[in-house]
Symmetry: C2
Subunit: 154 residues, 2 copies
């Protein structure tokens, strides 16, 4: 693996970093302005909503929510539980493990946030791309993600 990086590739990297920062900023602003939950809350709740029975072990939840660490998820789950958007359930079979379960109130809050988030994705991201670009981006970025996620040591 070559360790030099030329202008051609550096420009792509910088565009990647900068586009991410500015788009996320915009969407976060719009969510706040419309009184909706921040993105991290959304990420946790949507992971639960998409899971069987709206429930996931804390460990699995943490693995799905890429932007947070394990203890970060614990902390956020505390806040969501305090807001009544999520509840914890202990299982009988393995009493170490805890499930996080989305509540009806959590589902409602998620449903309110979803269109605002969707509008942000559409307006700041999707609408700026041709279909061909979307195909290329998806393939390339999924490949990058899989490779980076897969690497363990070094």
């Amino acid at each position: 693996v070559s360790d030099a990086i030329d202008e051609f590739h550096l420009a792509a990297w910088r565009a990647f970093i900068n586009a991410h920062a500015s788009v996320i900023d915009r969407i976060e602003d719009e969510l706040a302005r419309e009184g909706q939950m921040p993105l991290t809350w959304y990420d946790v709740l949507v992971a639960l909503a998409e899971a069987e029975g709206g429930r996931l072990r804390m460990n699995d939840l943490a693995r799905k929510v890429v932007v947070l660490s394990r203890s970060g998820v614990t902390r956020l789950a505390d806040r969501l539980e305090a807001e009544g958007l999520l509840r914890r359930e202990r299982t009988a079979t393995d009493r170490r493990g805890a499930y996080a379960v989305i509540t009806p109130k959590g589902q409602e809050a998620l449903d309110r946030a979803r269109p605002v988030y969707a509008r942000g994705i559409a307006g700041h991201f999707a609408s700026r791309l041709s279909d061909e670009e979307v195909r290329t981006l998806t393939a390339a970025l999924e490949r990058i993600d899989a490779a980076a996620r897969g690497t363990v040591g070094s």
Copy 2:
């Protein structure tokens, strides 16, 4: 602007978010493991190193470092100054403004971090992309960044 978002575009969005999170994580890990500075430090120092005379007004510096707020940059500059990697200079012409200037020690630390960072970008990002994909990504993401950065209200 349509506010619905279909699976086709959602997949691209998720790939974008996940690839960013996992690649940044990897690179941050590698920097730490090799005893180099974290990315935010790097971003600030490289912005200075690329500027005329290695100096920039705090305000301009904050505008260049997309991933931090104005006061975030002040805070980080405090830490970098404490480490001797950067110093502040007050100017005679406008005594409100402060310049941040990279020090020789800062330049050296930057030079040590640069190849590690470059290797990370190459290994986890650039090497996974064809030249055609790099061209498409750069064009698309620069467009997205410019549009998101440009939008002011709503």
